[in-house]
């Protein structure tokens, strides 16, 4: 609280010249960050099949191309299916794991903590070929369920980070109070804790969904000829077929914007804090 008051006092500061240099620099960097997102918009509306600046004319044909092409639609549906299943699995298991890591007292807890973070640290390419090799032997390549397994593993750390943070700041005295009033620990968690960490639960679920929906490398190896959306996009880019990919990109950016707005209203903890 004192920090906030101090910051507020300083907030009403006088701006000096070098501040404006700072602001200009920041604006440029933010421009840098937004540039690729913005540039796909005009390309997606270009009437030309080639990359041309400025576009010779405007047209919606690439959007039509996307919706008319069953391979694009199939890939999208598959991605949604995989992401939905991943979200359910990762959120449920990850939340349970968070409870255990934050509340539990047992030997090896610190080790399990590190283990649950490993998928974030180890490069995805290594995991991808590892699971590709194994699933290949098990004849699981090409099945969307296989991709779900791979994506869930990658999503669990995200869920744990968000939910563990939420649980750590949650006042456990409330659970104790509920227990002293006649609730078993499970009921205390259900009636008292979960309703209050719901925003974090929502954020964790969204994060799991997006991480699976956007994921390329694992899906590339495990999907075989049954592609997910990122894989189809990747192929499209490599083969430079046409700017349909730009239309897909625009739709993705719009989707992310919408999701961000929804999450900022409903969720919490979506901004990764210092790790």
């Amino acid at each position: 609280m004192e920090l906030k008051a101090a910051r507020e006092r300083i907030g009403r500061r006088r701006w000096r010249p070098w501040h404006f240099v700072l602001f200009a620099f920041t604006a440029l960097v933010l421009l840098f960050l937004m540039a690729p997102l913005v540039v796909v918009f005009p390309i997606s509306l270009s009437s030309s099949s080639y990359l041309q600046f400025p576009p010779p004319g405007w047209s919606l044909r690439w959007y039509q191309q996307f919706f008319n092409d069953s391979t694009w639609i199939d890939a999208t549906v598959r991605s949604i299916k995989v992401a939905a299943a991943t979200t359910v699995l990762a959120t449920v298991m990850g939340t349970a794991l968070s409870f255990s890591l934050v509340r539990g007292r047992y030997p090896g807890k610190e080790f399990f903590n590190q283990v649950s973070m490993m998928p974030l640290i180890i490069p995805t390419i290594i995991y991808s070929i590892a699971v590709y090799g194994w699933f290949g032997q098990l004849k699981l390549i090409g099945l969307w369920q296989g991709i779900v397994l791979g994506h869930t593993v990658l999503a669990i750390p995200y869920v744990v980070i968000i939910m563990a943070a939420a649980l750590r700041t949650f006042d456990i005295a409330q659970e104790h109070a509920a227990m002293s009033l006649g609730a078993s620990r499970a009921r205390a968690i259900w009636y008292v804790t979960l309703p209050q960490i719901r925003p974090s639960l929502i954020s964790a679920a969204f994060l799991a969904f997006i991480s699976s929906f956007d994921e390329l490398v694992v899906a590339m190896f495990l999907g075989g000829s049954n592609m997910t959306l990122p894989k189809k996009m990747f192929d499209n880019i490599i083969n430079e077929i046409d700017p349909t990919i730009a239309a897909v990109s625009v739709m993705q950016v719009v989707l992310v914007t919408v999701v961000l707005i929804v999450v900022s209203k409903l969720g919490s903890g979506a901004v990764p804090a210092e790790r």
Partner: protein, 363 residues
């Protein structure tokens, strides 16, 4: 509800309870009985084990040895939910996502009390704590004192056999705290609820309790009524913890005389010297030090000058040092008796009766 409470309120027995954390013994073989309808306070500094003991009674900790019983029923191993104990927490621990009424109804809902009965009892409980119209509010809309009362209502609405209070007034300002102390005490007496109260504030303990258990390093240093503890502390620790006092180390040198550390020798009645041979602790409350006029006599007296003056409003504290430097004493004199505030250097003759002193073994 009143009628039921006195039938339901139980006797709490703590028998030989010990709890260790690694090499630290938090609670060491504590025996305690809280009688039906009595408010007993566990008083002690942090680390004394009072909170751990409370957690053991509540069920959030399991003792390594010993047992906890209510009305003879052993609950040592029972989970908190099954102990029929109401508890008020330090930060109230109200459920912020539920209304006041839902908070108070929670224990009844957990016990599957039918809705009508539930609502009736919630209304009564809220009336008891003087918040009859606040049922629909959310906890964050209430003041600290009001939240405190909701927590209390929630803890008693289901007629528990025992009420536990874990330093519940810490977050309140002084005036509110004193008001709440009296309110809670009144409520407890009215409902004839057996209660166990934990605090580190000795004034609070003196106000709230039927009996006080002063705890030091996991053991009960003294168990008695507030008056007993205040007048006759059993050890140096208790004497230093309760109230402000003059404490002197005294060595018996025979013939009913003891020598204080500064060299001063004073006579003491046999009952104070006792039969032991070790050093004694002598305690004298500052209120008992008298300013002696020309014709006054006292068992122990000396001439001296005022060293320090501390203004407390109607009462002034004076530190008086004897002329020969052998002893200094803290006195508390009401302003209206002395007539004015004396200044440092003022010469005075002070004394007190032996009967006003209290002794205990020094170590």
């Amino acid at each position: 509800m009143r009628a039921m409470a006195s039938l339901d309120a139980g006797t709490l027995e703590v028998v030989g309870v010990t709890r260790r954390f690694g090499t630290v013994t938090a609670v060491a073989g504590v025996d305690l009985t809280v009688r039906r309808g009595e408010m007993l306070t566990l008083l002690g500094p942090s680390g004394s084990g009072k909170t751990t003991l409370l957690k053991i009674v509540a069920g959030f900790e399991t003792p390594d040895e010993g047992a906890v019983r209510i009305d003879g029923r052993d609950i040592t191993m029972a989970p908190p939910a099954k102990r029929d104990i109401g508890m008020v927490f330090q930060n109230y621990a109200l459920f912020p996502h539920m209304t006041v009424a839902e908070n108070v109804a929670f224990p009844l809902a957990m016990r599957r009390v039918p809705r009508e009965e539930r609502e009736r009892r919630v209304r009564e409980a809220l009336k008891l704590v003087d918040l009859p119209t606040h049922g629909d509010r959310l906890p964050r809309q209430l003041s600290g004192g009001q939240q405190q009362r909701v927590a209390l209502a929630r803890a008693i609405v289901f007629d528990p056999q025992l009420l536990l209070l874990d330093e519940p007034f810490g977050a309140l300002d002084r005036q509110l705290r004193e008001q709440m102390q009296l309110e809670v005490r009144r409520l407890q007496q009215r409902l004839e609820l057996t209660a166990l109260f934990v605090t580190h504030d000795q004034e609070e303990a003196l106000v709230m309790s039927d009996r006080i258990a002063v705890m030091e390093q996991g053991r009960i240093a003294q168990l008695g009524s507030p008056e007993e503890i205040y007048r006759s502390p059993a050890s140096r620790f208790v004497a230093g913890f309760i109230g402000e006092s003059n404490l002197y180390r005294a060595r018996p040198i025979g013939d009913g005389v003891v020598e204080l550390e500064g060299g001063l020798r004073i006579p003491l009645p046999p009952r104070l010297i006792g039969s032991g041979h070790g050093d004694l602790g002598l305690m004298l409350r500052p209120e008992r030090v008298r300013s002696l006029g020309p014709g006054d006599t006292a068992d122990i007296a000396f001439d001296g000058a005022i060293e320090e003056v501390v203004y407390l409003g109607e009462t002034i504290k004076y530190r008086i040092k004897s002329d020969d430097g052998q002893i200094s004493v803290l006195a508390r004199w009401p302003l209206h008796e002395v007539g004015r505030i004396l200044s440092p250097g003022h010469r005075v003759r002070v004394g007190w009766r032996s009967a006003d002193m209290h002794s205990f073994p020094w170590s």
